[in-house]
């Protein structure tokens, strides 16, 4: 059971921090033309719903992981809108 929990937490951490290198790259290059706007919008809505789901089922790992994923992706989306 501890193994399963560790796998879950590692999965949540990786799928959250994964967006930091994208954020850093877009910030530095000031270019996001190859990043799909439709992907960013759909993903942000989906992650927002995961956050709502986490709050509904009162799961702190789901809330925390999706809150950070949403913040990172909203910043990437704003950079996409700014730089195109």
């Amino acid at each position: 059971m501890i193994f399963i929990t560790i796998v879950g937490f590692t999965a949540a951490t990786l799928t959250t921090v994964a967006f930091l290198p994208q954020l850093a790259q877009t910030w530095k290059s000031k270019s996001a033309k190859d990043v799909s706007m439709q992907m960013l919008i759909t993903f942000c809505i989906g992650v927002f719903l995961w956050l709502v789901y986490g709050i509904c089922i009162q799961s702190w790992p789901v809330i925390v992981a999706n809150l950070f994923t949403l913040i990172f992706n909203l910043i990437i989306l704003s950079l996409k809108i700014r730089y195109g």
Copy 2:
């Protein structure tokens, strides 16, 4: 309880299908220089671990959503490797 389940399924569907527009765009433009390689690799490992987690806890929604998300992102990663 039905509301929470609908929110969860909608969230899972959106965060999975979100990667289809990215896949289509990269396929058509043959360019992925603005997409972070580090993000794709980290995200694929994370989603793979979600899949392992889903199998461990025997949750079909977690397994199905993450299997498709992994397939889509492995294709995007292969296009990134191919087109740079």
